[in-house]
Symmetry: C2
Subunit: 259 residues, 2 copies
């Protein structure tokens, strides 16, 4: 087996490296380049990085990222590019990646190349993310009693013109209830966001709705703001419910058996 057609090059000539890179880009292969380089970026911002050893990755969709030996994030990058080109200038390999909208230019000058890997990777794997905000929103949509007895949810992601409120419902007294959901600790901003919806809803309908902020926890500033703006909150850590569900029941029960 030719190892998934992954090719490794070292000690090639600069011209060969340039050719290898440009070929890979055309063929939409993945490319990993390890070497000593300096990087200039100009676009929305502007940056300059002097010489050092880095790992440069070009993916099949034309995204580029340059990694230093430390740090989770790339030091320079380009999410999408319209043009990537490698060429030899002054006996150095220069790689230019240009992005349109916003117009941004990434220029990498390699003073040394230690290693070039290229090849086609096939990835048809399915990625599923759980416990994101929409997950929680949907859970409440189906189980409104988690918030309050007698609550009826009547709308999800309702656009009010100033953004969409997560959930709209009616309580057991017939009063409208706007719900904003946060999957992590809710800040003052979250309270203000909810207030924005409440204000707009009142203006649109002429009726004052209740506003409930739902989150696993709240900053003191958030609680303060909620009180000041006459808004309510419910502490609800869906993550904990999720773990409980997984641990105790093996997923074979309804959520209502948890409490």
């Amino acid at each position: 087996m030719v190892n998934k057609l992954l090719e490794v090059f070292r000690n090639s000539s600069l011209d060969d490296y340039a050719k290898l890179i440009n070929e890979s880009i055309v063929k939409r292969e993945i490319l990993v380049l390890i070497g000593k380089c300096s990087v200039d970026y100009t676009g929305r911002g502007e940056s300059r990085l002097t010489d050092g050893d880095r790992v440069l990755i070009i993916k099949s969709d034309g995204s580029v990222q340059i990694h230093r030996p430390e740090g989770y994030k790339p030091v320079n990058w380009q999410p999408q590019t319209s043009v990537i080109e490698a060429r030899v200038v002054d006996n150095k390999l220069v790689l230019t990646a240009i992005r349109d909208k916003p117009r941004e230019i990434l220029n990498v000058v390699f003073n040394e190349i230690y290693l070039l890997i290229r090849g086609r990777l096939t990835d048809n794997g399915e990625f599923v993310m759980y416990l994101n905000e929409s997950d929680i929103r949907d859970l409440i949509y189906v189980n409104p009693w988690l918030i309050e007895d007698g609550l009826h949810i009547i709308g999800k992601e309702k656009d009010l013109g100033v953004g969409a409120v997560d959930l709209i419902g009616v309580d057991n007294k017939g009063k409208a209830v706007l719900i904003e959901v946060k999957r992590i600790t809710a800040s003052r901003e979250a309270a203000l966001q909810l207030y924005k919806y409440v204000e707009k809803y009142a203006k649109l309908t002429g009726a004052q709705p209740r506003g409930i902020l739902v989150a696993p926890s709240f900053t003191t500033q958030a609680l303060d703001t909620l009180k000041r703006l006459n808004l309510e909150y419910r502490e609800l850590d869906l993550k904990k419910l999720w773990l409980l569900k997984k641990r105790n029941m093996g997923g074979k029960c309804g959520l209502d058996q948890l409490l």
Copy 2:
């Protein structure tokens, strides 16, 4: 030259791969692993990724990232880890990366390994970022006339208890001026942020300050909100000034010669 001690392995045994990986982690080398794997993550969220070809990178600081063949962002990651360990389970290479605070676990099962690269990279390069928000803030701090004639800036990043206002100054009539700076198009949120500071400042001092939002452009919603809240704005694209400066003067002049 031994190519910066970068080592490449392919067709090794699973036990050898595990050993190579664990060695690299102890020696704090950089490690690039290309192969077919599935990934499970649990922590703040929870995700599952089925089999496919990916590039996994472990850096010397223990950060881990798993890249699919497309997309700028890693599909799974771990910014810092307290423990990374590779071992062979059921004739498969399993890599576990654990992070404390928040407690998160990343589990990668390799069904095939195409390539392993490891080695020590040295990067003492200097990284400088220009045109970020603090850059613009400092520029206005030194050149307050960019905002208004007769303006005196007297404070920078002043914490008002609800967050820090970018700049505080006094206009030529002796009235306090709060300035909020945005490096990109200012939204309604930016206007609200400024209003928050203006409100708090008035409460703290008993005097109503002016509020000016400075940005290269404004959304219509931002302009609407500014008007409603009796706030001012200045269109100021420092990026353009920067480009002009670079293009026309070669950096040999003061900013005031630009206008």
